[in-house]
Symmetry: C2
Subunit: 216 residues, 2 copies
């Protein structure tokens, strides 16, 4: 999977503003960034009255819009997808994925804590917590970044998350759940599938393969 870091903290702590600056900084460094934001209360993204809004309203499960510069997809789900599944399916072509929220997941985390808002960390003690971005004096052995030090935080993400990540050549999802493979198995599956696909007509230069099987 792609490297993932979560920016966590209470609502109103300033995650979005910090993230905005960190994105700019990472993009400036040449990285492509994917963002996944959790919104427990739902969100409105489409504009009322627009075609896509009308089609969604009419009952379409998924509405996609495609243009030469971008595309967008809005999809109903019966049950919230785990973040790994969204990342696997839709964000894995980024150099790094930053999530806003998802503090209960296993992703490495940076907690944002702003004095004017709260002085009590929500992830203190979490083993995935890597650092704080804060204007509060916290007793911790973790790196403490000033809440406005987006350059330092971007450098930290680059060093600790992007560069340390061993980008796998293969990723696998079974019944909607990402599967972690041991190196030997990984190579075995990769070589077998590349061998099969590479021998097909027009597929000898296969660099990127996506295979989906759904049993009837």
């Amino acid at each position: 999977m792609v490297p993932v870091i979560s920016i966590v903290g209470k609502s109103g702590s300033g995650k979005t503003t910090l993230l905005e600056k960190v994105i700019k900084e990472l993009v400036k460094k040449g990285y492509s960034v994917g963002i996944l934001k959790h919104d427990a209360h739902g969100f409105e993204i489409d504009h009322e009255g627009k075609d896509s809004w009308r089609h969604k309203k009419a009952g379409a499960m998924t509405v996609a819009l495609s243009s030469p510069e971008k595309f967008a997809v809005i999809k109903d789900v019966k049950k919230e997808w785990v973040p790994e599944r969204i990342i696997y399916s839709y964000l894995s072509d980024a150099d790094v994925v930053i999530t806003e929220g998802f503090k209960t997941y296993w992703f490495p985390k940076i907690e944002v804590l702003r004095k004017a808002h709260s002085t009590k960390p929500v992830c203190a003690g979490h083993k995935e917590l890597l650092a704080y971005a804060t204007d509060v004096k916290i007793k911790t052995k973790l790196p403490l970044f000033d809440i406005n030090d987006y350059k330092g935080i971007a450098r930290f993400i680059e060093k600790e998350i992007i560069k340390k990540h061993d980008k796998k050549e293969i990723s696998l999802m079974v019944n909607g759940k990402p599967i972690v493979l041991k190196p030997f198995i990984e190579n075995f599956i990769k070589d077998s599938v590349l061998g099969m696909i590479g021998s097909l007509k027009d597929c000898s230069d296969a660099n990127e393969i996506e295979l989906r099987i759904r049993k009837k």
Copy 2:
């Protein structure tokens, strides 16, 4: 791939309104519907000032939002994705995908033609054209539906597109292009991959497999 039908016709011919009613009718019949709309001139979907809008503006390549009921993805592309790729990646879990636009593609088509707007079909003679929805008297051997006969059109889509479609158990994309497989090859790849994956820990009940390989 999932069965696909395109609703085509000049801009302003009434495609969106017809489609809205056809979606409702198909959903009433119990089908899940995916919509793909082509917008050559680009589109605005996000709301200015919202978090996702700010992150996209800051340079994120992809922004995804997740909630318990739905999720959304907005993604920049360097070159417009072919519709098959968007359908493969984002819409293949629907019972039927209806596209609005994409008249130059190989998808089967229904052309909408409204007298007050134009009397000249744009897809006349296309071998994929299956029917017209129109209030114009056209000389044609194809089925002619009244432009308001959304029930008839939904029935036609059900009969000619959904029920005639042989849903494959396997779909493959190589270097961003969907690959059509012969039945023997299809079974060979399917059985090999199911055999490999099914023997992994916790994967013996694998019904849905998604495998992605990206060569370094």
